[in-house]
């Protein structure tokens, strides 16, 4: 009557990581392999398996071997940190929409990879720490789940057992455990390398971005400070600060490239849709955008009496579409440092792509257009801008594979407009 209810405990004897699956299997009296498969399958649902496992590892006490919770059993700090990180990252999945590009089409989202990176780093840390603490001659605990095929063999006779013990002592660890350890360490190191590469790319991107948005002086200041710190360290004989060379280069190279390439992201990010009703509404210094897609639709513009409208556009990375009435002659100087330009049916592409259109022969209404993009596309057309924007303008579009995109019909309309 006073029998205690069965408790969910982390298995001491049947564990691969923290004994959570073994404990659940024991609690439910099912095969632990099934529980492990369940956790792995749950990973595919937004990484739920990882978060659930880590949380259970933190909140579930260890079995002391007799079916009771072990005393003074507190989860290690790194496990708590990992569980909190996993919950923060995985559960509010919708808030991580900004990272969708990272997961790029993976239906379980990019945040999983972030968790894997962090998990790999912590895993490596814990493995190495345990390895350093463990005496080199330690044998696996009795009843460990690190079973080998040999464990399932009938008991050997005494001489065979002595030989086996001698072999174990010489090798200092059973081969299966060593193999697992090597595999795990290899995975962890690979993940760490990926994490380091991602961090490097992130810092480089921030440096390039800061420079392109007019904050290059700050980046340059940081680089100079690191350089001076290196010189000072060198003069006092400290060679251990050489690692500073790496972050200095990661900061300096993108900043230098952006500064030398005159890349400018000033003007913001996003989509801009300008539909001026009169020439007076056009800004004197034109329209500019840092990154994104910009549409300037002049089809509804009331053309002025002097019949000439001047327009400048400047884009960092992205697409500019200028739509004009078909009766207007476009006098254009359109340039893409890298990318594609299409002006009234005439196109150019590649590095320093350019299309120029001369002034009209007569007194036709004209648009004097000066348009630039650092990397991307400029389209000047009398067709609706929607024909060139949106999903249709993806990288799967033939337009991006060098196909002929010229439009003889529109070229003729431009010639007629300029000859009017």
């Amino acid at each position: 009557m006073n029998e205690r209810p069965k408790r969910l405990l982390r298995s001491r004897d049947d564990r691969i990581l923290a004994g959570v699956a073994g404990g659940i299997a024991n609690y439910l009296d099912v095969d632990p392999t099934l529980v492990r498969v369940g956790f792995v399958a749950a990973v595919l649902f937004g990484g739920l398996g990882i978060a659930a496992y880590l949380v259970l590892a933190v909140v579930t006490p260890n079995d002391d071997g007799s079916g009771a919770p072990a005393e003074d059993d507190r989860p290690s700090a790194w496990l708590v940190v990992l569980a909190v990180l996993a919950v923060l990252i995985l559960l509010p999945g919708p808030f991580w929409g900004a990272f969708d590009w990272w997961g790029g089409g993976w239906w379980w989202g990019g945040s999983l990879w972030l968790v894997l990176l962090i998990g790999g780093a912590v895993w490596l840390y814990a493995t190495l720490r345990d390895r350093n603490r463990r005496p080199s001659t330690e044998r696996p605990a009795e009843g460990s789940d690190q079973r080998t095929p040999e464990d399932d063999q009938p008991a050997p006779d005494e001489s065979t057992a002595r030989t086996q013990r001698l072999d174990d002592t010489v090798s200092q660890a059973p081969p299966s455990r060593d193999g697992w350890s090597r595999l795990l360490r290899g995975v962890a190191i690979a993940v760490l390398v990926l994490a380091a590469a991602a961090a490097t790319l992130g810092v480089a991107a921030v440096s390039a971005w800061a420079t392109a948005t007019g904050h290059g002086a700050i980046v340059a200041g940081v680089v100079i400070a690191i350089g001076v710190a290196l010189v000072v360290a060198a003069l006092i004989g400290e060679s251990r600060w050489r690692w500073l060379i790496v972050p200095a280069l990661v900061l300096a190279l993108p900043a230098g490239a952006v500064a030398a390439g005159d890349v400018n992201f000033d003007g913001g990010i996003g989509e801009r849709d300008h539909r001026p009703a009169s020439a007076a509404e056009l800004p004197a210094d034109g329209y500019s955008l840092g990154v994104g897609q910009m549409t300037v639709d002049l089809r509804g513009l009331e053309w002025p009496r002097d019949r000439t409208v001047e327009l400048d556009t400047d884009m960092g990375v992205g697409q500019t579409v200028v739509a004009v009435p078909s009766r207007v002659c476009v006098e254009a100087d359109v340039n893409a440092s890298v990318g594609h330009v299409l002006v009234r049916g005439r196109e150019g592409s590649g590095i320093d792509a350019e299309v120029t259109e001369g002034p009209p022969l007569g007194e036709a209404p004209r648009l004097v257009l000066d348009s630039e993009v650092d990397a991307g596309e400029i389209v000047v057309t009398d067709r609706p801008p929607e024909a060139f924007t949106g999903d249709r303008r993806s990288f799967d579009d033939d337009r991006w594979h060098g196909s002929d995109d010229s439009d003889p019909e529109e070229q003729r309309r431009q010639e007629r407009a300029c000859a009017a």
């Binding site: 420079t211 290059g216 002086a217 980046v219 340059a220 200041g221 940081v222 680089v223 100079i224 690191i226 350089g227 001076v228 710190a229 290196l230 010189v231 000072v232 360290a233 060198a234 003069l235 006092i236 004989g237 400290e238 060679s239 600060w241 050489r242 060379i245 200095a248 280069l249 300096a252 190279l253 900043a255 230098g256 490239a257 500064a259 030398a260 390439g261």
Partner: protein, 66 residues
């Protein structure tokens, strides 16, 4: 003279040259950003290659010395 030699022996040549090169590079970026100079991409690459060469040279000399 002995003091100078001690200082010279103590200096980490690789860090010194790399630090100087990084400082110069940072200064070039700063001047470019401020519009004082107009460094083109070709000059940028040449400067980078030269700096890398000097640092490698210093590293080799340091290894030989030390």
């Amino acid at each position: 003279m002995r003091g100078m030699k001690q200082i010279r022996d103590r200096v980490d040549l690789t860090s010194l040259v790399a630090g100087a090169a990084i400082s110069v590079f940072g200064a070039l970026v700063l001047l470019q950003e401020e519009g004082t100079i107009d460094l083109e991409a070709g000059w940028f690459l040449a400067t980078l290659a030269a700096a890398t060469g000097v640092v490698l040279l210093a590293s080799g000399m340091g290894a030989r010395r030390g």
